[in-house]
């Protein structure tokens, strides 16, 4: 009997052991299934999300490049810049002026390069028509001035003139916008032209850069309009 009891106890122990092994295997398998599927799910979701985000990033980058502010650019609230036509002197808050009341006749800005200072009251009217105004002081390098003159004369709706008492050596202005650049090859020159030559800031889109007043101070066809 003792032997029998011991045999049956052995068998129970073996069965118990096999059951434990079976449970352990099941646990292992369950962890494996959960683990592997979690990895698969996470990587697929991660991949899908990456694909979608990359796509939208590409679109955002394009939109952002077009809208990106130009480094160092100053802006004025266009709603507060006067737009009246006056034939009296006007005191502007910034130099060169980027907006405000101005003379009835615009300064020709069809790629016009002026070698002498121009009346601010006429140039401001050109900015209202969508022109970019390039100004420089005696501190600007001769090569830079030459390069900018070439660029301006190749670009309708721009004009250029010296302004001796401005803060920067080379400055670019549009209606309500202004930036000082380091040189003619500063990438902000192209950026400013692309953004503001007849750009969104233009108060009077479609208005002319010809037929105004020229270097000789004589009015053209549109004189007095």
């Amino acid at each position: 009997m003792a032997a029998n009891r011991s045999t049956s106890a052995d068998r129970r122990a073996r069965i118990e052991e096999m059951r434990r092994a079976e449970q352990a295997r099941e646990r292992r398998n369950r962890f494996l299934t959960i683990g592997v599927s979690a990895v698969v799910v996470l990587s697929l979701v991660g991949f899908g999300t990456f694909v979608l985000m990359k796509k939208s990033d590409e679109e955002d980058a394009k939109a952002a490049a077009a809208k990106a502010p130009i480094s160092g650019e100053k802006s004025w609230d266009a709603a507060k810049l006067g737009r009246n036509h006056v034939e009296t002197a006007v005191k502007y808050d910034m130099k060169p002026p980027v907006g405000g009341d101005h003379h009835p006749v615009w300064l020709n800005c069809d790629g016009d390069v002026y070698d002498k200072a121009v009346p601010e009251v006429n140039a401001v009217h050109s900015l209202e028509h969508g022109a970019v105004w390039v100004t420089y002081t005696k501190k600007a390098a001769e090569a830079d001035v030459k390069k900018l003159k070439d660029k301006v004369s190749d670009t309708p709706y721009t004009l250029m003139s010296p302004v001796d008492d401005q803060s920067g050596a080379i400055m670019l202005s549009a209606w309500g916008k202004q930036v000082t650049v380091d040189s003619a090859s500063d990438p902000r020159v192209d950026a400013f032209f692309t953004k503001y030559v007849q750009g969104k800031q233009t108060p009077e889109p479609g208005a002319a850069c010809t037929g105004g007043v020229g270097a000789d101070g004589m009015g053209g066809a549109g004189m007095g309009q």
Binding site: R30, S37, G48, T49, K55, G111, S153, T155, T194
Partner: protein
């Protein structure tokens, strides 16, 4: 005999994530293959709208000048027609650029690059003639100085050359532009300006001159 529920849950989760990943790839690649809804900045559509606006503007300017320099009704009427037509067409093209969210100038890109024939060279040498057919500043000044028949002949010659350059560029858009309404406008420019070139040849002959 791994818990049946565990296995179901795992299979379902994997299946759903496969669907999500496949969906994401489909969405992203489908949008990429579709034609862009609006032309981009380097397209012929944008390039033509920009360059022809500049080209047209000079024709408008020349026409205003000659109207101040002669009393001849035929030349004044032609100039009136050209100034109105080209100013309006210019407005259409600039309006499209606005609607497409594109700049009016792509600074640093030579004119007519979109046609595969960029206009480059010494800026000073061009004297304001930025594209084929355009008059130089010197020629415009000569027109401002001339009067009567001399102004008429000069205008007709300058405008004939201007139209020839314009027709050539408009043909480029007819071939390359993707926006129907813009291609139609370009074809309209080709037809109208070719007919005006013939008219101007006739007007020059009547004034004892040729183009």
């Amino acid at each position: 005999m791994t818990g049946r529920r565990t296995r179901y849950a795992a299979v379902t989760a994997v299946a759903l994530s496969v669907l999500f990943a496949a969906g994401a790839v489909t969405v992203a690649s489908a949008e990429r293959e579709e034609a862009p809804r609006t032309p981009d900045s380097a397209s012929a559509d944008a390039g033509f709208a920009r360059d022809m606006s500049v080209h047209h503007q000079q024709a408008v300017e020349m026409s205003f000048i000659v109207r101040d320099r002669t009393e001849d009704p035929a030349v004044r009427r032609l100039a009136y027609d050209i100034a109105n037509t080209q100013a309006n067409q210019r407005g259409m093209m600039l309006g499209w650029l606005d609607m497409w969210g594109l700049p009016k100038v792509e600074s640093g890109t030579a004119p007519m690059t979109w046609m595969g024939m960029p206009v480059t060279g010494d800026a000073a040498g061009k004297d304001g003639a930025l594209m084929p057919g355009m008059a130089t500043r010197t020629q415009l000044d000569a027109l401002r100085e001339a009067s009567g028949k001399e102004a008429e002949v000069l205008y007709l010659r300058l405008m004939t050359a201007h139209h020839k350059g314009g027709v050539h560029m408009a043909e480029g858009c007819v071939q390359k532009c993707s926006v129907d309404i813009e291609r139609d406008l370009a074809q309209g420019m080709v037809d109208a300006q070719e007919s005006e070139i013939a008219l101007m040849a006739d007007m020059l002959r009547k004034r004892g001159a040729t183009a």
